[in-house]
């Protein structure tokens, strides 16, 4: 599905990603962990198509296509969804209107007719139940005045509406209490199909108690320094990141 090769990227001339290679196959869940400032969010930004990140080297192939050449909205319509670490507020634009525009753009891309108002509202109702989101949120402006937890749940709701092939969740667990965390994780699990994949970016392992990853990567200083199974996450939970940092720094010295 997604093949990243030797990806290097910088922001304002400062190198952030220093050669990342990663392959995500259909059906897999990859967790990307790492200390603050290691480049996790930058990687998500590159995959979603943010323009302030400048890719200097490497390639990203998505279903055989050069992802880096696609504008952000096309990536979305091709099935890439980014759950934002800090969801953006758009005052005056109702969630209904926002989602209706988005869903119909996706449908147009696939050559489908736009949904009628009643079909759309029905779809919204179904998905709201699926992700256990408060129905009142839908009538409010996009993320405006939402609590931290509501914003994150709203991301999962949008994901449910757009049914992505590849979901990238950027620290979706940050700032969530345990109940909200469970709702978010349940949402992700329910939406998972055998042919869809997810990249779960997280600082802590607790989200991975609920979303079970197939592969865990540790990102440090712009590089993937460790890749292993789920047990790696547990080891990090127990020992923190310092032992990995030391290992890497020692290697760099020698």
């Amino acid at each position: 599905m997604l093949i990243i090769k030797n990806l290097k990227a910088e922001i304002d001339g400062k190198a952030i990603l220093k050669g990342i290679s990663l392959e995500v196959k259909a059906g897999e869940i990859h967790a990307i962990m790492g200390p603050n400032g290691s480049g996790k969010s930058t990687l998500a930004a590159v995959l979603a198509g943010r323009e302030f990140v400048n890719v200097t080297e490497g390639s990203v192939t998505y279903f055989g296509k050069n992802l880096l050449e696609m504008p952000a909205e096309e990536r979305s319509k091709e099935g890439i969804f980014l759950g934002f670490q800090y969801p953006i507020e758009i005052p005056g634009v109702s969630m209904v209107n926002f989602m209706k525009t988005a869903v119909n753009e996706h449908r147009k891309y696939k050559g489908l007719e736009p949904l009628s108002a009643s079909d759309f509202l029905k779809l919204m109702r179904e998905k709201k139940e699926l992700v256990e989101i408060d129905s009142k949120l839908a009538n409010r402006s996009v993320n405006e005045g939402f609590s931290g937890g509501e914003k994150k749940k709203n991301e999962i709701f949008q994901m449910a509406m757009l049914e992505p092939k590849l979901a990238i969740l950027d620290e979706t667990d940050s700032g969530l209490d345990i109940d909200a965390l469970r709702i978010v994780a349940n949402g992700v699990n329910k939406l998972k199909r055998p042919d869809t994949s997810a990249i779960v970016i997280t600082h802590y392992q607790r989200l991975l108690d609920y979303i079970i990853p197939d592969v865990v990567h540790v990102l440090y200083d712009g590089r993937i320094v460790k890749t292993s199974g789920r047990e790696l996450a547990l080891e990090i939970e127990e020992k923190g990141y310092d032992w990995i940092k030391k290992e890497v720094d020692k290697k760099d010295l020698s």
């Binding site: 979603a48 198509g49 943010r50 323009e51 302030f52 504008p71 952000a72 909205e73 990536r75 979305s76 319509k77 969804f81 980014l82 934002f84 969801p87 953006i88 507020e89 758009i90 005052p91 005056g92 634009v93 109702s94 209107n97 926002f98 989602m99 525009t101 988005a102 753009e105 996706h106 891309y109 402006s141 996009v142 949008q158 757009l162």
Partner: protein
């Protein structure tokens, strides 16, 4: 010419302006199908297909082209309920007493430079009178179009709602693209008697000039309503997307006790457009209320100023005003300015003013992009969300068009 506005106005050669131009082949306008195809296209674009007027029954239209009113629809139907809706030139001939009684009572010819100019040279416009106790059964509207080159347009609108009457009135304006600037100096006068209500909406889409600021209409208009009677109400709603320079302050004189004035405005300036617009609410009567909601949108090199006066006179016990002036910026070359004036001479008055300035962020646009929405559509969504409070005040038929117009006029303003 007054120089206090926050506008850069190139010198106007008044000798060079044609003050009267009649559309060619006037005779053929008797048949609605014979109207200039360009004009018809304009109406269609604004969702007012003249041809379908007969079936739609929703809107009665007076079309003013250059200096002459070319067509008024539904005149007969309206006459059945005693409503007079016709061109100004017809009104002068057929209802001279009404015209004499009301014309110039709200905007005297000495009012300001452009009011004087208009009073001296105007040749036509729209006239509307709603008799006592009549609720006008349909939307009335006037469409203005400047068609000939080098022509200025100086029309007048006079709208009278007698006691207990109600009318909702809409004006639309368009002009073809021309390299030279053209002057539009109109006067709109509204009078509301006891318990009368007038809702006046404007969708102004005069040619704004090209993206380098060449050409476009100078829209210097004096609009004023007089709430003469008790419990009367005048409400202005304007969507200003066109004109190279917009300079106007649709205002309310709240003379009757318990009268209400409202002003809802969205003004867009893109490329090199300039706007200095707002309102005046003059509280004279007791317990008079006014509401001002102004939403400025600046893009490109556009300069957008809100200028408003809330004046409470000595005897206006219990006067109440709420003003909200928001500015939205797209890009870093444009400007937003707010000049609120508040003069209160009565201690019981309550006057509130709120203002915000915000910018459409790259973050917001990217958020939309990531959900599959193009940048252009994202701007449309965000801008319409921002202006929703005002657009909701428009008659429903026009709200959708106004939304499209906002989006079109901001095309290419980001990215």
């Amino acid at each position: 010419m007054p120089a206090w506005a926050n506008l850069k106005i190139p010198a106007i050669d008044y000798q060079d302006i044609i003050f009267y131009a009649a559309p060619k082949q006037k005779a053929s306008y008797d048949n609605i199908d014979d109207i200039d195809p360009e004009l018809k296209k304009t109406f269609d674009k604004l969702g007012i297909p003249l041809e379908e007027q007969k079936h739609l029954s929703g809107v009665a239209v007076d079309a003013v082209m250059d200096s002459v009113s070319v067509k008024t629809t539904f005149r007969e139907t309206l006459a059945e309920s005693g409503i007079i809706f016709c061109s100004f030139s017809d009104a002068v001939k057929e209802y001279p007493d009404l015209v004499r009684r009301y014309m110039g009572t709200v905007v005297p010819y000495t009012d300001n430079f452009f009011a004087s100019l208009n009073s001296a040279v105007f040749s036509d416009g729209s006239f509307c009178y709603i008799p006592k106790g009549v609720r006008c059964p349909m939307e009335l509207s006037t469409y203005f179009r400047i068609n000939s080159a080098n022509t200025g347009q100086f029309e007048r609108t006079l709208l009278v709602a007698d006691e207990e009457a109600y009318v909702s009135y809409l004006e639309g304006c368009t002009a073809p693209m021309r390299d030279e600037n053209q002057l539009h100096a109109a006067i709109v006068e509204i009078i509301a008697e006891n318990n009368a209500e007038v809702k006046y909406s404007t969708v102004q889409n005069w040619y704004p000039g090209d993206k380098d600021g060449k050409g476009g209409i100078f829209n210097f208009v004096t609009k004023r309503g007089l709430c003469r009677g008790e419990n009367s109400k005048i409400s202005w709603t304007q969507i200003e997307t066109g004109s190279a320079i917009t300079w106007k302050y649709p205002s309310c004189i709240l003379r009757g006790d318990n009268s209400t004035g409202e002003f809802y405005s969205v003004a867009v300036t893109n490329h090199y457009q300039q706007a200095d617009t707002g309102t005046k609410m003059i509280h004279i009567g007791k317990n008079t209320k006014s509401t001002i909601v102004s939403k400025g949108i600046s893009a490109g090199h556009g300069q957008n100023s809100y200028r408003g006066l809330v004046k409470v006179l000595k005897n206006a016990t219990g006067a109440r005003n709420f003003s909200q002036c928001d500015s939205l910026l797209l890009g870093n070359q444009c400007g937003a300015h707010t000049f609120p004036y508040i003069e209160v001479d009565n201690q019981t008055a309550i006057v509130e003013h709120e203002a915000t300035t915000s910018k459409i962020g790259e973050d917001q646009i990217f958020y939309c992009n990531q959900r599959g929405i193009s940048t252009q559509d994202a701007i449309g969504l965000i801008v319409n969300g921002y202006a929703r409070e005002v657009i909701n005040k428009l008659p429903m038929e026009f709200a959708v068009e106004a939304q499209k117009l906002l989006q079109i006029s901001l095309e290419g303003s980001v990215g």
